[in-house]
């Protein structure tokens, strides 16, 4: 009797273990499948034209204007969200660690972190693209700046959160030691705490870059896209993700090949960034535990 119960428990346990292992294998299969498809299709479509020709040539062209546009907007987005994010994160960690305002901002920042990116694109369309077009009577509407602002909104919560967490990891004795020397709070924060947390804050900035570099939806209604090379932040700007989106929607298989090459570039860039920061970050985390 009791041995029957025992056997049944052992069997249920074994079944649960097997199912759980199968779940993991399924997850890994999808990862391998997606990566394999991207790499194999992307490599066969890689060539020099990709980097030298603009999208206006169509099937005979490349993605050079999209690559330049993406790099420009990503950089501009970082220039916007990194300072704001680091200062906001510092406020949360140093001035509002326990206050109600701090708790509210932290909470809403977490929500912003997972808010739908297409909604942020619409937001920037309404507050930047439409007013700019009204002010300039249509001369400037969709623009690289608008795209960068939309991307900055995606990177911002990542930076706020990591900065907040990293500064909270700095030991309290460091603060007390500095304050006991009569250093004003701002000097303590900038010259002691931020310096101690530099690598952590940098990790946050890189994570934000990895996140915003692959975004497509917020760029559709802000930067729009452009078939020609542009260096002006006030004109419609091409980007790799939006070019991939347009080429995938096109029935022409030659454009699909270019889209795969773009997909490979962007995946390699994003995954390399997140893997690097992960290595960097996990080494840091261990030393604090």
């Amino acid at each position: 009797m009791s041995s029957a119960i025992y056997t049944r428990r052992r069997i249920t346990n074994a079944v649960a273990m097997v199912l759980s292992s199968i779940a993991t294998v399924i997850g890994l299969v999808f990862l391998a499948w997606i990566l394999w498809v991207t790499v194999s299709n992307g490599i066969s479509a890689l060539n020099l034209k990709l980097f030298t020709r603009i999208t206006a040539y169509g099937a005979d062209g490349g993605l050079s204007n999209a690559i330049v546009g993406s790099l420009g907007m990503d950089l501009l987005a970082l220039l916007i969200c990194a300072p704001i994010g680091v200062l906001a994160g510092t406020y949360l960690a140093e001035y509002a660690a326990t206050s109600r305002l701090g708790a509210t901002i932290r909470f809403l920042n977490d929500i912003l972190l997972s808010a739908p990116s297409i909604v942020l694109g619409l937001f920037v369309y309404v507050i930047v693209v439409v007013p700019m077009s009204n002010v300039t009577h249509g001369a400037v509407s969709f623009s690289g700046v608008a795209g960068a602002i939309a991307l900055a909104l995606i990177g911002l919560p990542v930076i706020v959160r990591t900065t907040d967490e990293m500064l909270q990891l700095v030991p309290g004795s460091l603060r007390e030691a500095a304050l006991s020397l009569g250093i004003p709070q701002w000097k303590l924060t900038v010259q002691v705490l931020m310096r101690a947390a530099t690598s952590g804050i940098l990790t946050g900035v890189l994570l934000a870059l990895a996140r915003l570099a692959g975004e497509t939806a917020p760029l559709l209604f802000t930067a729009f896209g452009n078939n020609f090379m542009t260096y002006s932040p006030l004109s419609k700007t091409a980007s790799v993700p939006v070019a991939i989106y347009q080429y995938t929607n096109d029935p022409n298989p030659a454009l699909h090949a270019i889209a795969w090459a773009g997909a490979l570039l962007i995946t390699l860039f994003v995954l390399a960034l997140s893997l690097l920061t992960r290595l960097f970050f996990s080494r840091k985390k261990v030393s604090h535990d």
């Binding site: 649960a16 993991t24 977490d110 997972s114 909604v119 937001f123 706020v160 559709l220 995946t267």
Partner: protein
């Protein structure tokens, strides 16, 4: 002489203290305004979409929420079809992703040998790092043909069961609600499993060890000790995944098929809030554009509520951990 000598450093000290205090105030103000910008961004997003969609939201009002017609020619807009598509695809994604994520989290915390946990965990989380446009391309070019091959088999097996059979009727297009749901499931898998994995690790060792000492099997420990201890956070993680699924655009736009119909079959093409916006926005003018922004407002409100619940549930565990 004496007085002057002692006075100078004192006055120096005072002016310095005063400038320090002033700098501190400026610094504090700068930091605080940056932090308030985060609040402003979220509030601004809600208000701006309410403003952008005011024409449709206030003039059509209730009709917008209950009508299933979407006709740019007659300017008659109802959100029912996109809302239906968004909810159904997200639901399919949850039904598939929750058990899989649970299995993965269980594997990574209890079953796998320790050397395997790091690399496998990182690999699963890499799924979260792949840009959603890549999921869309893979979905359209690889997964849709794959589904088109297995859908006849689904129709002839699951489709024959009396009640749920209706869900699996229809032509094997490959495109459709079911395909979109599966792609979404793969996308949210890493989010849910990493939350579950993290909270499973917060269960005190002595609780688990006590149960093992009483002769529990691993399944019993997870089911009776780990899950009850982490219940609220696990639900929080699931809602976090749901929030992602509701708002995802690029992964579903290509594979959904873009049709404004509400059908009982999961194999039929459909639409979703985000894919309607992505597909139509740049060609839309006037009321049509306003209707799309109003859809965005709906999406924002729904995901906000879902994410709010998620964060509240996750916070409960964190608070208990602190006690």
């Amino acid at each position: 002489m004496h007085a002057a000598r002692t006075e100078t450093p004192a006055r120096d000290f005072e002016t310095r203290a005063r400038t320090d205090a002033r700098h501190d105030r400026i610094f504090h103000g700068a930091l605080k305004s940056c932090a308030l910008l985060v609040l402003a961004a979220l509030l601004g997003a809600a208000l701006s979409m309410l403003w952008g969609g005011r024409e449709v939201l206030f003039q059509h009002g209730f009709h917008f929420l209950t009508s299933s017609s979407w006709n740019p020619v007659t300017d008659d807009y109802g959100a029912l079809a996109p809302v239906f598509g968004t909810l159904v695809t997200s639901l399919i994604a949850l039904v598939l992703a929750v058990p899989l994520s649970f299995g993965i989290a269980l594997f990574l915390t209890e079953i796998a040998p320790v050397w395997m946990r790091g690399p496998v965990g990182t690999a699963i989380e890499l799924l979260a790092g792949i840009p959603s446009i890549i999921y869309g391309m893979w979905g359209l070019f690889i997964f849709v043909p794959f589904m088109a091959r297995i859908e006849p088999a689904l129709s002839s097996t699951l489709g024959q069961i009396p009640l749920i059979g209706k869900l699996f009727e229809g032509p094997p297009l490959g495109l459709g609600i079911l395909t979109a749901g599966i792609v979404l499931a793969v996308m949210i898998l890493p989010f849910i499993s990493s939350v579950m994995r993290e909270v499973f690790q917060t269960v005190p060792k002595r609780l688990k060890e006590s149960a093992y000492a009483l002769g529990s099997t691993t399944r019993e420990v997870v089911w009776d000790i780990v899950l009850p201890y982490t219940r609220s956070a696990v639900i929080g993680g699931i809602f976090l995944g749901l929030g992602r699924a509701l708002g995802e655009t690029m992964a579903v736009t290509f594979v959904l098929g873009n049709s404004d119909n509400i059908t009982s079959s999961l194999l039929m093409p459909g639409t979703s809030i985000s894919s309607s916006i992505a597909n139509e926005f740049n060609e839309a003018v006037g009321t049509h554009r306003s209707a799309l922004i109003a859809l965005g407002f709906l999406l924002f409100v729904v995901t906000f509520i879902v994410l709010l619940i998620a964060r509240l549930m996750l916070r409960q565990l964190a608070r208990r951990e602190g006690n």
